[in-house]
Protein backbone atom coordinates (compact mmCIF):
# COMPACT_ATOMS: atom_id res chain seq x y z
CA UNK A 1 0.00 0.00 0.00
CA UNK A 2 1.17 3.49 -0.79
CA UNK A 3 1.01 5.49 2.42
CA UNK A 4 0.02 8.93 1.24
CA UNK A 5 -1.17 10.73 4.32
CA UNK A 6 -0.52 14.44 4.36
CA UNK A 7 -1.86 14.86 7.84
CA UNK A 8 -1.79 11.51 9.65
CA UNK A 9 -2.87 13.10 12.90
CA UNK A 10 -6.28 14.11 11.57
CA UNK A 11 -6.78 11.52 8.85
CA UNK A 12 -6.21 8.55 11.16
CA UNK A 13 -7.54 10.02 14.40
CA UNK A 14 -9.69 7.75 16.61
CA UNK A 15 -13.30 8.94 16.40
CA UNK A 16 -13.53 9.77 20.13
CA UNK A 17 -10.69 12.26 19.86
CA UNK A 18 -12.01 13.62 16.60
CA UNK A 19 -15.43 14.27 18.11
CA UNK A 20 -13.91 16.18 21.01
CA UNK A 21 -12.15 18.48 18.58
CA UNK A 22 -15.31 18.81 16.50
CA UNK A 23 -17.45 19.81 19.48
CA UNK A 24 -14.92 22.38 20.61
CA UNK A 25 -14.75 23.90 17.17
CA UNK A 26 -18.51 23.73 16.69
CA UNK A 27 -19.13 25.84 19.79
CA UNK A 28 -16.65 28.43 18.57
CA UNK A 29 -18.03 28.64 15.05
CA UNK A 30 -21.58 28.87 16.36
CA UNK A 31 -20.66 31.83 18.54
CA UNK A 32 -18.95 33.45 15.58
CA UNK A 33 -21.97 32.88 13.34
CA UNK A 34 -24.41 34.13 15.97
CA UNK A 35 -22.57 37.34 16.75
CA UNK A 36 -21.13 38.20 13.33
CA UNK A 37 -23.77 37.03 10.87
CA UNK A 38 -27.06 38.92 11.28
CA UNK A 39 -28.87 36.63 8.84
CA UNK A 40 -28.01 33.55 10.89
CA UNK A 41 -28.63 35.24 14.23
CA UNK A 42 -32.13 36.01 13.04
CA UNK A 43 -32.70 32.35 12.18
CA UNK A 44 -31.48 31.21 15.60
CA UNK A 45 -33.62 33.76 17.41
CA UNK A 46 -36.68 32.90 15.37
CA UNK A 47 -36.18 29.23 16.21
CA UNK A 48 -36.00 30.22 19.90
CA UNK A 49 -32.66 28.52 20.43
CA UNK A 50 -29.96 29.53 22.89
CA UNK A 51 -26.63 28.65 21.30
CA UNK A 52 -25.23 27.88 24.75
CA UNK A 53 -27.57 24.88 24.84
CA UNK A 54 -25.53 23.17 22.15
CA UNK A 55 -23.48 20.82 24.32
CA UNK A 56 -22.99 17.78 22.09
CA UNK A 57 -22.56 17.03 18.42
CA UNK A 58 -26.01 15.51 18.53
CA UNK A 59 -27.49 18.93 19.37
CA UNK A 60 -26.48 20.13 15.93
CA UNK A 61 -29.71 18.70 14.54
CA UNK A 62 -31.75 21.33 16.38
CA UNK A 63 -30.06 24.23 14.61
CA UNK A 64 -31.66 25.86 11.57
CA UNK A 65 -30.32 25.12 8.09
CA UNK A 66 -28.54 27.61 5.88
CA UNK A 67 -29.60 27.54 2.24
CA UNK A 68 -28.12 28.91 -0.94
CA UNK A 69 -31.05 31.32 -1.03
CA UNK A 70 -30.02 32.70 2.40
CA UNK A 71 -26.60 33.49 0.98
CA UNK A 72 -28.09 35.05 -2.15
CA UNK A 73 -30.37 37.22 -0.05
CA UNK A 74 -27.41 38.83 1.70
CA UNK A 75 -25.41 39.42 -1.49
CA UNK A 76 -22.71 40.65 -1.67
CA UNK A 77 -21.04 40.61 1.77
CA UNK A 78 -23.74 39.59 4.22
CA UNK A 79 -22.34 36.08 4.66
CA UNK A 80 -18.89 37.36 5.60
CA UNK A 81 -18.27 37.32 9.34
CA UNK A 82 -15.19 39.53 9.43
CA UNK A 83 -14.49 43.15 8.51
CA UNK A 84 -13.08 43.28 4.98
CA UNK A 85 -9.68 44.35 6.28
CA UNK A 86 -9.29 40.81 7.65
CA UNK A 87 -10.42 39.21 4.40
CA UNK A 88 -7.58 38.47 2.00
CA UNK A 89 -9.53 36.82 -0.81
CA UNK A 90 -13.04 36.71 -2.20
CA UNK A 91 -14.52 33.98 -4.38
CA UNK A 92 -17.96 33.73 -5.83
CA UNK A 93 -20.08 30.97 -7.29
CA UNK A 94 -20.91 31.16 -10.96
CA UNK A 95 -24.49 32.16 -10.38
CA UNK A 96 -25.49 29.77 -13.16
CA UNK A 97 -28.58 28.76 -11.25
CA UNK A 98 -29.50 32.18 -9.85
CA UNK A 99 -27.85 35.13 -8.14
CA UNK A 100 -24.22 34.56 -7.20
CA UNK A 101 -23.07 33.66 -3.69
CA UNK A 102 -19.99 35.36 -2.28
CA UNK A 103 -17.47 33.89 0.15
CA UNK A 104 -14.55 35.56 1.94
CA UNK A 105 -11.33 33.99 3.23
CA UNK A 106 -9.11 35.26 6.02
CA UNK A 107 -5.36 34.59 5.91
CA UNK A 108 -5.97 31.68 8.24
CA UNK A 109 -8.73 30.30 5.99
CA UNK A 110 -6.38 30.33 3.01
CA UNK A 111 -3.74 28.47 5.02
CA UNK A 112 -6.19 25.76 6.13
CA UNK A 113 -7.65 25.53 2.64
CA UNK A 114 -4.17 24.97 1.18
CA UNK A 115 -3.53 22.27 3.78
CA UNK A 116 -6.82 20.58 2.89
CA UNK A 117 -5.95 20.57 -0.81
CA UNK A 118 -2.47 19.20 -0.08
CA UNK A 119 -4.21 16.44 1.89
CA UNK A 120 -6.60 15.87 -1.03
CA UNK A 121 -3.88 15.66 -3.66
CA UNK A 122 -1.68 13.43 -1.50
CA UNK A 123 -4.68 11.16 -0.93
CA UNK A 124 -5.10 10.80 -4.70
CA UNK A 125 -1.44 9.83 -4.96
CA UNK A 126 0.15 13.12 -6.02
CA UNK A 127 3.67 13.70 -4.66
CA UNK A 128 6.26 16.44 -4.86
CA UNK A 129 7.72 14.55 -7.83
CA UNK A 130 4.62 15.33 -9.90
CA UNK A 131 3.99 18.06 -12.43
CA UNK A 132 0.36 19.05 -12.20
CA UNK A 133 -1.59 20.87 -14.89
CA UNK A 134 -4.49 22.75 -13.39
CA UNK A 135 -7.20 23.18 -16.01
CA UNK A 136 -9.89 24.37 -13.63
CA UNK A 137 -10.82 27.98 -14.26
CA UNK A 138 -8.77 30.54 -12.33
CA UNK A 139 -10.70 33.51 -11.06
CA UNK A 140 -13.82 33.87 -8.98
CA UNK A 141 -14.37 30.11 -9.32
CA UNK A 142 -12.66 28.32 -6.41
CA UNK A 143 -11.37 25.38 -8.49
CA UNK A 144 -8.24 26.85 -10.05
CA UNK A 145 -6.74 28.83 -7.18
CA UNK A 146 -7.87 26.30 -4.57
CA UNK A 147 -6.02 23.39 -6.13
CA UNK A 148 -3.12 25.69 -7.06
CA UNK A 149 -2.33 26.62 -3.46
CA UNK A 150 -2.67 23.01 -2.31
CA UNK A 151 -0.39 21.68 -5.03
CA UNK A 152 2.26 24.27 -4.13
CA UNK A 153 1.87 23.40 -0.44
CA UNK A 154 2.44 19.75 -1.34
CA UNK A 155 5.54 20.71 -3.31
CA UNK A 156 4.40 19.51 -6.73
CA UNK A 157 5.36 21.50 -9.82
CA UNK A 158 2.33 23.56 -10.73
CA UNK A 159 1.37 24.53 -14.28
CA UNK A 160 -1.51 27.01 -13.91
CA UNK A 161 -3.25 26.58 -17.27
CA UNK A 162 -6.77 27.56 -16.25
CA UNK A 163 -9.61 26.33 -18.49
CA UNK A 164 -10.06 26.44 -22.25
CA UNK A 165 -7.60 26.56 -25.16
CA UNK A 166 -7.60 22.80 -25.57
CA UNK A 167 -4.86 22.50 -28.18
CA UNK A 168 -2.50 24.44 -25.95
CA UNK A 169 -3.48 22.21 -23.02
CA UNK A 170 -2.54 19.12 -25.02
CA UNK A 171 0.71 20.68 -26.20
CA UNK A 172 1.74 21.54 -22.64
CA UNK A 173 0.64 18.13 -21.36
CA UNK A 174 3.03 16.56 -23.84
CA UNK A 175 5.92 19.02 -23.81
CA UNK A 176 6.09 19.56 -20.04
CA UNK A 177 5.74 15.83 -19.34
CA UNK A 178 2.71 16.54 -17.16
CA UNK A 179 1.88 13.66 -14.81
CA UNK A 180 -1.35 14.95 -13.22
CA UNK A 181 -4.28 16.77 -14.80
CA UNK A 182 -6.90 18.52 -12.74
CA UNK A 183 -10.20 19.55 -14.39
CA UNK A 184 -13.88 18.66 -14.71
CA UNK A 185 -14.62 15.10 -15.90
CA UNK A 186 -16.44 16.43 -18.97
CA UNK A 187 -13.41 18.50 -19.92
CA UNK A 188 -11.21 15.40 -19.57
CA UNK A 189 -13.39 13.68 -22.17
CA UNK A 190 -13.31 16.72 -24.41
CA UNK A 191 -9.54 16.81 -24.17
CA UNK A 192 -9.27 13.10 -24.94
CA UNK A 193 -11.22 13.61 -28.18
CA UNK A 194 -9.10 16.55 -29.22
CA UNK A 195 -5.95 14.55 -28.44
CA UNK A 196 -7.22 11.68 -30.58
CA UNK A 197 -7.90 14.02 -33.48
CA UNK A 198 -4.36 15.35 -33.15
CA UNK A 199 -2.93 11.83 -33.04
CA UNK A 200 -1.35 12.18 -29.62
CA UNK A 201 0.63 9.09 -28.69
CA UNK A 202 0.03 8.71 -24.98
CA UNK A 203 3.03 6.44 -24.56
CA UNK A 204 5.18 9.49 -25.33
CA UNK A 205 3.74 11.33 -22.33
CA UNK A 206 4.16 10.94 -18.57
CA UNK A 207 0.45 11.42 -17.91
CA UNK A 208 -0.69 9.08 -15.08
CA UNK A 209 -3.31 10.71 -12.85
CA UNK A 210 -6.53 12.61 -13.36
CA UNK A 211 -8.15 14.55 -10.54
CA UNK A 212 -11.66 15.50 -11.46
CA UNK A 213 -14.38 17.45 -9.72
CA UNK A 214 -16.83 20.36 -9.83
CA UNK A 215 -19.63 18.33 -11.43
CA UNK A 216 -21.43 15.07 -10.70
CA UNK A 217 -20.14 12.07 -12.64
CA UNK A 218 -20.90 8.37 -12.57
CA UNK A 219 -18.73 5.30 -12.11
CA UNK A 220 -19.40 4.42 -15.76
CA UNK A 221 -17.99 7.80 -16.73
CA UNK A 222 -14.81 6.95 -14.81
CA UNK A 223 -14.49 3.72 -16.81
CA UNK A 224 -14.90 5.69 -20.06
CA UNK A 225 -12.29 8.27 -19.07
CA UNK A 226 -9.79 5.62 -18.00
CA UNK A 227 -10.35 3.88 -21.35
CA UNK A 228 -9.67 7.04 -23.33
CA UNK A 229 -6.78 8.43 -21.28
CA UNK A 230 -3.73 6.61 -19.83
CA UNK A 231 -4.66 7.50 -16.28
CA UNK A 232 -6.25 6.53 -13.02
CA UNK A 233 -9.15 8.92 -12.39
CA UNK A 234 -9.93 10.30 -8.91
CA UNK A 235 -13.02 12.13 -7.76
CA UNK A 236 -12.66 15.14 -5.48
CA UNK A 237 -15.50 17.04 -3.91
CA UNK A 238 -16.09 20.54 -2.73
CA UNK A 239 -18.27 23.57 -3.26
CA UNK A 240 -17.44 27.22 -3.10
CA UNK A 241 -19.85 28.05 -0.27
CA UNK A 242 -18.29 25.43 2.02
CA UNK A 243 -14.69 26.23 0.98
CA UNK A 244 -14.16 25.11 -2.64
CA UNK A 245 -12.36 21.89 -3.57
CA UNK A 246 -10.80 20.17 -0.58
CA UNK A 247 -13.90 19.03 1.31
CA UNK A 248 -13.54 15.35 0.37
CA UNK A 249 -11.35 13.14 -1.80
CA UNK A 250 -10.96 9.56 -3.00
CA UNK A 251 -8.05 7.42 -1.89
CA UNK A 252 -6.51 4.70 -4.08
CA UNK A 253 -9.36 2.31 -3.16
CA UNK A 254 -12.07 4.48 -4.76
CA UNK A 255 -14.63 3.40 -2.17
CA UNK A 256 -16.23 6.76 -1.52
CA UNK A 257 -14.70 10.14 -0.70
CA UNK A 258 -12.98 10.88 2.61
CA UNK A 259 -14.37 14.01 4.24
CA UNK A 260 -11.91 16.13 6.19
CA UNK A 261 -14.01 15.94 9.34
CA UNK A 262 -11.68 18.05 11.44
CA UNK A 263 -12.88 20.97 9.31
CA UNK A 264 -16.40 19.97 8.27
CA UNK A 265 -19.22 18.08 9.94
CA UNK A 266 -21.34 16.28 7.35
CA UNK A 267 -24.95 15.22 7.79
CA UNK A 268 -27.39 13.47 5.50
CA UNK A 269 -30.96 14.68 5.72
CA UNK A 270 -34.28 13.73 4.21
CA UNK A 271 -34.89 16.16 1.35
CA UNK A 272 -38.52 16.78 2.24
CA UNK A 273 -38.63 16.65 6.03
CA UNK A 274 -35.08 17.85 6.75
CA UNK A 275 -34.71 15.10 9.38
CA UNK A 276 -31.23 13.59 9.77
CA UNK A 277 -30.86 10.14 8.18
CA UNK A 278 -28.71 7.31 9.56
CA UNK A 279 -25.39 6.21 7.95
CA UNK A 280 -25.86 4.39 4.66
CA UNK A 281 -29.11 6.17 3.82
CA UNK A 282 -29.14 8.40 0.81
CA UNK A 283 -30.28 12.01 1.11
CA UNK A 284 -29.15 15.60 0.88
CA UNK A 285 -25.65 16.38 2.08
CA UNK A 286 -25.39 19.13 4.70
CA UNK A 287 -22.16 20.70 5.98
CA UNK A 288 -21.18 22.73 9.00
CA UNK A 289 -17.78 24.38 8.68
CA UNK A 290 -15.62 24.10 11.80
CA UNK A 291 -12.63 26.31 11.12
CA UNK A 292 -13.78 28.94 8.68
CA UNK A 293 -13.50 32.55 9.85
CA UNK A 294 -14.45 34.45 6.68
CA UNK A 295 -17.69 32.68 5.78
CA UNK A 296 -18.67 30.21 8.49
CA UNK A 297 -21.71 28.11 7.63
CA UNK A 298 -24.00 26.22 9.93
CA UNK A 299 -25.85 23.26 8.42
CA UNK A 300 -25.51 24.38 4.83
CA UNK A 301 -27.74 22.44 2.45
CA UNK A 302 -25.56 21.55 -0.52
CA UNK A 303 -28.26 20.19 -2.82
CA UNK A 304 -25.93 17.23 -3.49
CA UNK A 305 -27.20 13.72 -2.92
CA UNK A 306 -24.97 11.26 -1.09
CA UNK A 307 -24.77 8.92 1.89
CA UNK A 308 -22.21 8.48 4.68
CA UNK A 309 -20.11 5.47 5.63
CA UNK A 310 -18.31 5.56 9.00
CA UNK A 311 -16.48 2.24 8.60
CA UNK A 312 -12.72 2.46 8.53
CA UNK A 313 -11.41 2.41 4.96
CA UNK A 314 -8.88 -0.14 3.65
CA UNK A 315 -6.43 2.75 3.37
CA UNK A 316 -6.55 3.15 7.15
CA UNK A 317 -8.29 6.52 7.26
CA UNK A 318 -10.84 6.81 10.03
CA UNK A 319 -12.57 9.90 8.70
CA UNK A 320 -16.03 9.33 7.27
CA UNK A 321 -16.55 8.56 3.61
CA UNK A 322 -19.32 10.04 1.48
CA UNK A 323 -20.70 8.20 -1.50
CA UNK A 324 -19.68 9.96 -4.70
CA UNK A 325 -22.18 12.57 -5.76
CA UNK A 326 -23.86 11.65 -9.01
CA UNK A 327 -26.93 13.81 -8.69
CA UNK A 328 -28.33 16.92 -7.08
CA UNK A 329 -31.68 17.64 -5.49
CA UNK A 330 -32.28 20.31 -8.10
CA UNK A 331 -31.54 18.12 -11.10
CA UNK A 332 -34.12 15.55 -10.19
CA UNK A 333 -36.53 15.29 -13.07
CA UNK A 334 -40.16 14.43 -12.59
CA UNK A 335 -41.39 12.77 -15.75
CA UNK A 336 -45.05 11.75 -15.70
CA UNK A 337 -44.75 11.44 -11.95
CA UNK A 338 -41.60 9.30 -12.05
CA UNK A 339 -38.57 10.70 -10.24
CA UNK A 340 -35.42 10.33 -12.30
CA UNK A 341 -31.89 11.67 -12.04
CA UNK A 342 -29.96 12.27 -15.26
CA UNK A 343 -27.11 10.20 -13.79
CA UNK A 344 -29.36 7.12 -13.74
CA UNK A 345 -30.01 7.51 -17.45
CA UNK A 346 -26.30 8.07 -18.03
CA UNK A 347 -25.40 4.81 -16.28
CA UNK A 348 -27.75 2.84 -18.51
CA UNK A 349 -26.65 4.46 -21.76
CA UNK A 350 -22.97 3.94 -21.02
CA UNK A 351 -23.53 0.29 -20.14
CA UNK A 352 -24.04 -0.37 -23.88
CA UNK A 353 -20.96 -1.09 -25.97
CA UNK A 354 -19.92 1.47 -28.51
CA UNK A 355 -22.02 4.30 -27.16
CA UNK A 356 -20.11 7.54 -26.77
CA UNK A 357 -20.27 9.26 -23.35
CA UNK A 358 -22.19 12.17 -24.81
CA UNK A 359 -25.91 12.42 -24.53
CA UNK A 360 -28.61 14.96 -24.09
CA UNK A 361 -31.94 14.58 -22.37
CA UNK A 362 -34.77 16.59 -23.89
CA UNK A 363 -38.02 16.96 -22.04
CA UNK A 364 -41.07 18.49 -23.61
CA UNK A 365 -44.83 18.33 -23.43
CA UNK A 366 -46.91 16.62 -26.04
CA UNK A 367 -50.69 16.67 -25.64
CA UNK A 368 -50.20 17.77 -22.02
CA UNK A 369 -48.01 14.74 -21.31
CA UNK A 370 -44.33 14.86 -20.49
CA UNK A 371 -42.24 13.45 -23.26
CA UNK A 372 -38.63 12.47 -22.78
CA UNK A 373 -36.19 11.94 -25.57
CA UNK A 374 -32.55 10.99 -25.14
CA UNK A 375 -30.16 11.79 -27.92
CA UNK A 376 -27.23 9.41 -28.16
CA UNK A 377 -24.30 9.74 -30.51
CA UNK A 378 -23.58 6.89 -32.91
CA UNK A 379 -19.87 6.43 -33.45
CA UNK A 380 -18.39 5.09 -36.69
CA UNK A 381 -17.03 2.13 -34.71
CA UNK A 382 -20.46 0.95 -33.62
CA UNK A 383 -22.37 2.01 -36.71
CA UNK A 384 -23.81 -0.91 -38.58
CA UNK A 385 -24.90 -0.66 -42.16
CA UNK A 386 -27.85 -2.86 -41.28
CA UNK A 387 -30.86 -0.97 -40.07
CA UNK A 388 -32.11 -3.80 -37.92
CA UNK A 389 -28.89 -3.72 -35.84
CA UNK A 390 -29.33 -0.01 -35.13
CA UNK A 391 -33.02 -0.47 -34.43
CA UNK A 392 -32.24 -3.27 -31.99
CA UNK A 393 -29.68 -1.16 -30.17
CA UNK A 394 -32.17 1.67 -29.88
CA UNK A 395 -34.90 -0.64 -28.61
CA UNK A 396 -32.57 -2.35 -26.14
CA UNK A 397 -31.62 0.98 -24.58
CA UNK A 398 -35.26 2.03 -24.38
CA UNK A 399 -36.24 -1.28 -22.82
CA UNK A 400 -33.48 -1.15 -20.22
CA UNK A 401 -34.52 2.36 -19.21
CA UNK A 402 -38.12 1.20 -19.00
CA UNK A 403 -37.18 -1.84 -16.92
CA UNK A 404 -34.82 -0.12 -14.51
CA UNK A 405 -36.36 3.33 -14.15
CA UNK A 406 -39.97 2.61 -15.06
CA UNK A 407 -39.71 5.39 -17.60
CA UNK A 408 -40.91 5.30 -21.19
CA UNK A 409 -38.51 7.34 -23.23
CA UNK A 410 -37.46 7.42 -26.84
CA UNK A 411 -33.84 7.09 -27.81
CA UNK A 412 -32.76 9.09 -30.79
CA UNK A 413 -29.56 8.15 -32.54
CA UNK A 414 -27.65 11.15 -33.78
CA UNK A 415 -24.41 11.87 -35.57
CA UNK A 416 -21.13 12.11 -33.58
CA UNK A 417 -20.08 15.54 -32.35
CA UNK A 418 -23.58 16.93 -32.74
CA UNK A 419 -23.84 17.44 -28.98
CA UNK A 420 -21.93 20.54 -27.99
CA UNK A 421 -18.73 19.62 -26.14
CA UNK A 422 -18.34 21.38 -22.87
CA UNK A 423 -15.11 22.93 -21.71
CA UNK A 424 -16.46 23.38 -18.22
CA UNK A 425 -19.66 21.94 -16.83
CA UNK A 426 -21.66 19.77 -19.20
CA UNK A 427 -25.28 20.66 -19.90
CA UNK A 428 -27.07 17.36 -20.28
CA UNK A 429 -30.71 18.22 -19.71
CA UNK A 430 -32.87 20.55 -21.75
CA UNK A 431 -36.27 20.96 -20.16
CA UNK A 432 -38.64 22.66 -22.56
CA UNK A 433 -41.65 22.24 -20.26
CA UNK A 434 -40.90 25.26 -18.10
CA UNK A 435 -40.84 27.69 -20.99
CA UNK A 436 -44.18 26.52 -22.29
CA UNK A 437 -45.73 26.68 -18.86
CA UNK A 438 -44.71 30.28 -18.29
CA UNK A 439 -46.32 31.58 -21.47
Amino acid sequence: MIATFWDENYELMPRQNLEKIQLNRLKKVLTRAYYNLPYYRQKIDQAGIDINDVQSLNDLRHLPFTTKQDLRNVYPFGAIAEPLKNIVRIHSSSGSTGRATVVGYTRNDIEIWSQLLARTLAGCGVTEQDTIQIAFGYGLFTGGLGVHYGAEKLGATVVPMSSGNTLRQIQILKDFQITVLCCTPSYALYLSEAAKENQIDWSQTAFRLGIFGAEPWSEEMRVEIEKKLPIQAFDIYGLSEVIGPGVAFECEFHQGLHISEDCFIPEIIDIQSGKPLPPGKSGELVFTTLTKEGTPLIRYRTGDISSLNYEECQCGRTIVRMERVTSRTDDMLIIRGVNVYPSQIESIILSFDGIEPYYQILISKENFLDKIEVEVEVSSEMFSDEIKVLETLRKNIEEKIKAELNLACSIKLIKPKSIIRSESKAKRVIDLRKKEGSL
Binding site: S380, F383, K412, L413, K415, S418
Partner: protein
Protein backbone atom coordinates in the same frame (compact mmCIF):
# COMPACT_ATOMS: atom_id res chain seq x y z
CA UNK B 1 -16.61 -5.23 -53.35
CA UNK B 2 -17.10 -2.55 -50.78
CA UNK B 3 -19.91 -0.12 -50.29
CA UNK B 4 -19.93 2.99 -48.12
CA UNK B 5 -22.78 3.47 -45.67
CA UNK B 6 -23.42 6.78 -43.96
CA UNK B 7 -25.70 7.34 -40.99
CA UNK B 8 -28.21 10.12 -41.54
CA UNK B 9 -30.14 11.87 -38.85
CA UNK B 10 -33.78 12.31 -39.56
CA UNK B 11 -33.70 16.04 -40.08
CA UNK B 12 -33.73 18.42 -43.03
CA UNK B 13 -30.37 18.88 -44.70
CA UNK B 14 -28.62 15.75 -43.48
CA UNK B 15 -28.66 14.07 -46.90
CA UNK B 16 -27.52 17.26 -48.55
CA UNK B 17 -24.61 17.59 -46.11
CA UNK B 18 -23.15 14.31 -47.39
CA UNK B 19 -23.88 14.99 -51.05
CA UNK B 20 -22.41 18.48 -50.84
CA UNK B 21 -19.13 17.01 -49.57
CA UNK B 22 -19.07 14.43 -52.37
CA UNK B 23 -19.63 17.20 -54.87
CA UNK B 24 -16.86 19.29 -53.32
CA UNK B 25 -14.48 16.34 -53.62
CA UNK B 26 -15.70 15.53 -57.16
CA UNK B 27 -16.79 12.05 -56.21
CA UNK B 28 -18.93 10.29 -58.75
CA UNK B 29 -21.57 7.94 -57.40
CA UNK B 30 -21.99 4.71 -59.35
CA UNK B 31 -24.98 3.44 -57.42
CA UNK B 32 -26.89 4.53 -54.38
CA UNK B 33 -29.78 3.69 -52.16
CA UNK B 34 -31.38 5.47 -49.26
CA UNK B 35 -33.08 3.46 -46.56
CA UNK B 36 -35.04 5.18 -43.88
CA UNK B 37 -36.91 4.49 -40.68
CA UNK B 38 -39.01 6.88 -38.65
CA UNK B 39 -35.94 8.04 -36.76
CA UNK B 40 -32.92 7.83 -38.99
CA UNK B 41 -31.70 6.80 -42.41
CA UNK B 42 -28.78 4.99 -43.96
CA UNK B 43 -27.32 6.19 -47.22
CA UNK B 44 -25.48 3.45 -49.10
CA UNK B 45 -23.43 4.03 -52.21
CA UNK B 46 -20.73 2.67 -54.44
CA UNK B 47 -17.77 4.69 -55.59
CA UNK B 48 -14.25 4.12 -56.79
CA UNK B 49 -11.67 3.81 -53.99
CA UNK B 50 -14.13 3.65 -51.10
CA UNK B 51 -11.38 3.19 -48.47
CA UNK B 52 -10.05 6.71 -48.98
CA UNK B 53 -13.47 8.27 -49.11
CA UNK B 54 -14.69 6.67 -45.88
CA UNK B 55 -11.69 8.13 -44.02
CA UNK B 56 -12.40 11.58 -45.41
CA UNK B 57 -16.04 11.35 -44.41
CA UNK B 58 -15.13 10.35 -40.86
CA UNK B 59 -12.78 13.29 -40.59
CA UNK B 60 -15.75 15.49 -41.43
CA UNK B 61 -17.65 13.91 -38.51
CA UNK B 62 -19.91 11.69 -40.56
CA UNK B 63 -20.66 8.27 -39.17
CA UNK B 64 -19.50 6.16 -42.08
CA UNK B 65 -18.51 2.55 -42.53
CA UNK B 66 -17.41 0.11 -45.24
CA UNK B 67 -19.51 -2.95 -45.91
CA UNK B 68 -18.61 -5.94 -48.04
CA UNK B 69 -21.31 -6.44 -50.69
CA UNK B 70 -21.86 -8.41 -53.89
CA UNK B 71 -22.43 -6.77 -57.25
CA UNK B 72 -23.99 -9.18 -59.70
CA UNK B 73 -24.64 -8.62 -63.38
CA UNK B 74 -28.19 -9.46 -64.36
CA UNK B 75 -29.43 -10.15 -67.86
CA UNK B 76 -31.79 -7.46 -69.00
CA UNK B 77 -34.79 -9.70 -69.58
CA UNK B 78 -37.85 -10.81 -67.57
CA UNK B 79 -36.78 -13.23 -64.86
CA UNK B 80 -33.13 -12.11 -64.88
CA UNK B 81 -33.09 -11.12 -61.19
CA UNK B 82 -35.36 -14.00 -60.19
CA UNK B 83 -32.74 -16.40 -61.53
CA UNK B 84 -30.00 -14.97 -59.28
CA UNK B 85 -32.20 -14.89 -56.19
CA UNK B 86 -33.32 -18.43 -56.88
CA UNK B 87 -29.71 -19.66 -56.81
CA UNK B 88 -29.08 -18.04 -53.45
CA UNK B 89 -32.39 -19.19 -51.98
CA UNK B 90 -31.73 -22.76 -52.98
CA UNK B 91 -28.52 -22.55 -50.91
CA UNK B 92 -30.32 -21.04 -47.90
CA UNK B 93 -28.65 -17.70 -48.27
CA UNK B 94 -30.89 -14.82 -47.34
CA UNK B 95 -30.52 -11.31 -48.64
CA UNK B 96 -30.47 -8.43 -46.16
CA UNK B 97 -31.14 -5.80 -48.80
CA UNK B 98 -30.53 -5.10 -52.45
CA UNK B 99 -30.67 -2.25 -54.93
CA UNK B 100 -29.99 -2.04 -58.64
CA UNK B 101 -28.29 0.15 -61.22
CA UNK B 102 -27.78 0.03 -64.96
CA UNK B 103 -24.39 0.23 -66.67
CA UNK B 104 -23.59 3.51 -68.46
CA UNK B 105 -24.01 1.84 -71.82
CA UNK B 106 -27.35 0.52 -70.67
CA UNK B 107 -26.65 -3.02 -71.83
CA UNK B 108 -26.60 -4.65 -68.46
CA UNK B 109 -28.30 -4.26 -65.11
CA UNK B 110 -26.50 -4.83 -61.85
CA UNK B 111 -27.77 -5.61 -58.40
CA UNK B 112 -25.94 -4.70 -55.23
CA UNK B 113 -26.62 -7.32 -52.55
CA UNK B 114 -25.86 -7.58 -48.89
CA UNK B 115 -25.76 -11.13 -47.55
CA UNK B 116 -24.36 -12.42 -44.30
CA UNK B 117 -21.65 -14.64 -45.74
CA UNK B 118 -20.32 -12.78 -48.77
CA UNK B 119 -17.57 -15.35 -49.39
CA UNK B 120 -19.93 -18.32 -49.54
CA UNK B 121 -22.47 -16.48 -51.66
CA UNK B 122 -19.91 -15.36 -54.22
CA UNK B 123 -18.55 -18.90 -54.60
CA UNK B 124 -22.03 -20.23 -55.21
CA UNK B 125 -22.77 -17.53 -57.76
CA UNK B 126 -19.49 -18.09 -59.58
CA UNK B 127 -20.20 -21.78 -59.78
CA UNK B 128 -23.58 -20.98 -61.29
CA UNK B 129 -21.77 -18.84 -63.85
CA UNK B 130 -23.31 -15.58 -62.70
CA UNK B 131 -21.20 -12.53 -63.53
CA UNK B 132 -19.78 -10.88 -60.42
CA UNK B 133 -18.18 -7.46 -60.48
CA UNK B 134 -14.91 -7.08 -58.56
CA UNK B 135 -14.39 -3.40 -59.04
CA UNK B 136 -16.09 -0.45 -60.55
CA UNK B 137 -14.31 1.77 -63.01
CA UNK B 138 -15.79 4.65 -64.82
Amino acid sequence: MKQISVFLENKPGSLHAVLAKLKEWSVNLRALSLADTADFGVLRFIVEKPEQLVERLRKENFTATLTEILVVGVEDRPGGLAHIVEILTSHDISIEYLYAFVSPQGQKAYVVMRVEDVQAASEILREAKASLLDEITI
